[in-house]
Subunit: 694 residues, 2 copies
């Protein structure tokens, strides 16, 4: 039991599993309050559950207890952990990458392990099949440790190497073409100073400043740290008055951040970093010509604390924001190591960094208090950041490197979207544009060079594999494309990495629903109409399911099923995005016919079949030529800002001029959402090209 | 043997004991190269000695050895120290305040101890009398430890409480009267912010900035540290959007240095600190009205590393600048403790600090490399400092407190002189003024509102007690005023603290020489003419001496003598200062008759008898009404800058417009110095009022 977040006088047993907050019945107005909620009308699909006496914050933390050893196979990582801790705690401590989408709440069923020896106490869960339980499968987060234990990680639980979106030659060429002039924040200026004499006995700092001024540097608002002043005398004399000063240009001043002896012109490097909730991408860039020396990416290690930003914030509130920051930094610093190894360059030559990401990711990384992002009225601590120093942030590069953090206009429209605009450039042009970046949240921007409006709708975790039994991210083994034979209902599958399938990713789900609708396996309301006796149809308990792949066709030796509830979740996700389009257009007095181009960005869009996305009502039924897919626009925008002051200034300017529309206080959104809970839509006038096809 | 600092190819055995540098014969051009040198012509009285094989830097540092216990009486402080360390090392480690003017070189003879038990090895020294040696006197710096030892500290070795110059009511009133408007660097601004709503959902930082802007704060160039951003969300909500922001105004920007919940207006405090080479003075000031809540002072603990700036720099080169910084900070933080205890205020309310001091003292305190200050062409690392944070400096006040460091135009004309000008104010007015601050160095400023010239001449340690057998600082027991009966040669003595005498301070020496000259005990060349058989006359070896006090009239039970070599040293000191006046005037095309006022500042000036100072040729023979004594002008100027932005800006402006004349490359200075080695001067035309008096 807990107190309703909106009505603190009311006790309630309903808890939103995404927000980790309690809600009273009145606040739960959608059609199935046992499962869904309407805490924010923009977030109609958040999962609800009845809870017992203990709120999330009341769970006692582990005390000092007997420690047990946990061995993880197949990598044989071992860790000691106190009695009573969970296997998920052990995996986190051992740095074993597990899927744990729901942050240990036991609701996603992703963190499956096989107990090989030793004993744990597992809470009963409906998320494991009878067969799995018989084969010693447990959920890591639901199993506490009471002896030394050996576990193996089954195929489907391993977090594998990501496919990275938007890093092709075309994107790189477009990106580089957009940078006309390279103007880094931190510049290394080599000087040959006149040695002092009795007649020219100004201080070392004044001599340096005079030299900088002569070389064209604006020294009127120059600042310098005590640390740099302390080492100045030695640095300036060490190579006979030849020095190289690193100077950072900030918005209101310039700062001398480093002075080293000598004039050797080593090349200066930069990093563009996109901190996604799911994955992190790092570009290592030669600042002289903008060439990309290495591009690396990895899962954000914070994923062990949950799939979405809300769970990450909850985790930060429980364990401290430093923990999440460490996890993010560990991922980024690992990628930096990979990049400098592959390009064979020196770490301390990295002098400029741009960080892009959503508001929560940037708060967590910088250890800035994130708790108000998830609480009405959803306030970030900081939206525009001053230029920081890499050493203070914790990045393993030159400690004085200048770090530009992409500004973001709101808690749910962050720096990644601003970076996206920088790359797409539609805010510099006349055509009326609708921009969408779909992940767990769908961020939408509408506008052109004259004005920009933006909003965020909670698409839910379905497109990224959450809340869908065999859902997964677009990793190796994910089914990404499907064609179903309308006669036999037999699907042809494309799998990421051309391996045997082990799950289905977002674009696969859209294909699947579109194909099932076309083949008549499901109805427009998302319910199965195919004969339950068909060999491709099965059920789990009362719930019907379509067999996407039989056990012997998979790498997990189990049937991969698509449940009726999975379809329901996808419909809610696509409905929220479509309702977002409608309401934002409406606020501006527009409709879809007035949209001149539609830009889709983000990893999710890469494998998207436009026609099929329109056919299920995710995208509007407009001229297909108006659609453009532009890959990971966040990293591309970060790259551009890394090289060019013009784009850094533009980012601040865009962030300031975007009007943010909050859907959580918008009744029209709820109406539009309800209308969109149909395939493709209750109002078929919106989808003329689909008319009569079902 | 060592290499000449000017000619590294030449080996030499002459070492300057003040500079700790070797000089070849060519560099030793003054009349008595065995004793004196002319390394810089502005410094003709530095003591030289022939050295054996070991240079100062070649002395091996103590290795890990057996440790022995040293007990210091009368305070019973005990310390363990490795075998072979000196008793001075032990005193330093035990924080026992000893006089050690020469920084352990064995040349000043001040660090006398009495061995009570245990055995040490003492190098033979001419600085202890046969009687002293018989009574187990040793020099702490010349005695190494080879067993457990008990020593007692004789009366004359103890460093006692200072008399503090320039803190009277008159000075305070003048100082406070000069501050018209109080404008601190760091201001605490209390705000009552509008809580955020869905329609007003800007970030916390933007909300704070908006609030600051509304309250009249210029936010266009506002910066903020990552640390403050991290705590912003909590601080702003903790007392329901009532917050107090601490904002520091810098020259090129403003910075939010702290945000705390609540609006309680606690009083803000400030510190003015004068870091003298000998003593440190701290004023604790109420920033609301400028009232001085406490004034404390103490010996600079760095004195254990030598009396003058050169020895301090040498010590920093040997042991690291951090050691010297720690000693200075320990003194200041101790004084801060005293001040906050006596005023009963909270440490963290101290938000503003001004540090004044000479260039070396400021470098050492801030741990900025000082080595080039003592090497031609005498370059400081930094002469104008940005506003620092107290936490970074190491001051035990609010860590975000703004610290203004007094700028100084040259290595030997520092922030203390600029502070002095701020207080005297002659640079704002028309009268042609000669300003002098005499200590180990004599800093001279000439000018008015139109122009300012400055120079420094090395007065040597004599006025502060160095190089004079019974010389001491103006502490308790110092003879400060003397009148000699011309018939009996019997002196009447005034002693600081009205106690029995234990030595003679600078003003006493000037009185003494003037009186001896008048009474005919000495000639104008400084040699004794009194009959050697007179009861007041004696000798030590070949050297004649005047008996200033018989053993039974003293607190040290020994005759206090004034030697012929003491007179010689004083003549050199006064000669250097007078030559400084002459040359600086000459450079400007002036002579003494055109000087409209003469301002004397510094502790030394406080007890000075003007007529006697003129009679020995230290001060020029001008109308006595033109002289003004203005006490410790460095602390007064620091106080004014603490309260007023106008004076902080003025300090930077003065420092920039002072023209520094370097005497070390000036032949005229040497000629003037030689002419001034006479009482009062070889050219009696310069001293018309003295004509015919001897």
């Amino acid at each position: 039991m807990g107190k309703c977040i909106n009505h603190p006088d009311r006790e309630t047993s309903f808890m939103c599993m995404k927000h980790n907050i309690y809600l009273c019945e009145e606040c739960l107005k959608c059609r199935d309050p046992e499962i869904h909620c309407k805490f924010r009308s923009s977030c109609p699909i958040w999962f609800m559950e009845k809870r017992g006496g203990k709120g999330i914050d009341e769970v006692p933390s582990a005390e000092k207890k007997i420690e047990y050893k946990i061995l993880f196979k197949p990598d044989n990582k071992e860790i000691s952990i106190p009695e009573g801790a969970t296997l998920l705690d052990a995996a986190l401590a051992a740095d074993v990458p597990l899927n744990a989408s729901c942050n240990g709440k036991g609701s996603c069923g992703k963190c499956k392990l096989v107990l090989e020896s030793g004993s744990g106490k597992s809470a009963d869960t409906p998320l494991l099949t009878r067969e799995e339980k018989a084969n010693n499968y447990v959920l890591a987060c639901q199993t506490t440790v009471h002896s030394d234990i050996t576990v193996s990680i089954p195929e489907e639980t391993l977090a594998k190497k990501l496919k990275i979106a938007g890093m092709g030659k075309e994107v790189t060429a477009r990106m580089q073409g957009l940078v006309q002039e390279i103007s880094p924040m931190l510049q290394n200026i080599s000087l040959e100073l006149t040695p002092p004499t009795l007649d020219d006995s100004i201080s070392d700092l004044d001599r340096l400043t005079r030299g900088l001024s002569k070389s064209g540097c604006d020294v009127s608002r120059m600042s310098i740290d005590l640390k740099v002043m302390r080492e100045l005398a030695v640095a300036m004399r060490d190579e006979n008055w030849k020095v190289t000063a690193s100077v950072t240009r900030k918005s209101c001043s310039t700062e001398i951040v480093r002075v080293v002896p000598g004039n050797g012109q080593e090349r200066s490097l930069g990093l563009a970093v996109d901190i996604g909730t799911t994955s992190i991408v790092v570009y290592l860039v030669d600042m002289a010509d903008g060439s990309i020396l290495a591009a690396t990416s990895a899962h954000n290690r914070q994923a062990a604390c949950g799939d979405d930003v809300i769970n990450r914030i909850v985790c930060a509130e429980k364990d401290g924001v430093k923990k999440l920051s460490r996890m993010g930094l560990a991922t980024i610093n690992g990628l930096i190591n990979e990049a400098i190894d592959s390009a064979d360059v020196k770490r301390d030559r990295i002098d400029n960094v741009v960080l892009s990401g959503n508001t929560t990711m940037l708060h967590l990384l910088l250890q800035i208090e994130p708790r108000n992002i998830r609480r009405e009225p959803y306030i970030p601590s900081v939206s525009a950041f001053p230029i920081l120093k890499a050493g203070n942030v914790g990045l393993k590069v030159n400690p004085g490197a200048a770090v530009f953090v992409m500004p973001g206009p709101a808690s749910y429209v962050g720096g990644d979207i601003v970076a996206g605009l920088i790359y797409t450039g539609f805010h510099r042009e006349a055509p009326m544009t609708l921009f969408i970046d779909v992940g767990t949240n769908g961020e939408i921007v509408l506008g052109n060079k004259d004005w920009l409006m933006t909003a965020s709708c909670s698409a839910g975790p379905a497109f990224e594999g959450g809340g869908v039994r065999w859902g997964m991210r677009a990793e190796e083994g994910a089914i990404e494309k499907i064609v179903i034979d309308p006669k036999t209902f037999i699907p042809s599958l494309s799998v990421v990495g051309d391996s045997l399938p082990r799950g289905i990713c977002g674009s696969g789900m859209i294909d699947l629903i579109s194909e099932m609708l076309k083949a008549g396996i499901i109805q427009q309301n998302g319910k199965f109409k195919a004969d339950a006796s068909h060999p491709r149809m099965t059920h789990d308990g009362d719930e019907k399911a379509y067999i996407l792949a039989f056990a012997n066709e998979t790498s997990v030796d189990k049937d991969i099923l698509f449940m009726e509830s999975d379809i329901d979740n996808i419909i809610r996700s696509k409905g929220a995005v479509y309702a977002g389009f409608k309401v934002l257009l409406n606020q501006a007095g527009f409709d879809f016919s007035m949209v001149e181009q539609m830009i889709i960005t983000g990893g999710f869009g890469q494998y998207l079949d436009l026609d099929k996305a329109v056919s299920i009502g995710l995208l509007p039924d407009i001229d297909r030529d108006k659609f453009t897919y532009l890959g990971n626009s966040s990293i591309a925008g970060a790259y551009m800002a890394l090289l060019s002051e013009k784009y850094r200034n533009e980012a601040l300017e865009i962030s300031n001029r975007m009007t943010y529309i909050d859907f959580s206080s918008n009744n029209q959104f709820m109406d539009e959402f309800t209308s969109a809970l149909f395939l493709p839509h209750t109002n078929m006038e919106d989808f003329p090209s689909m008319k009569g096809k079902f």
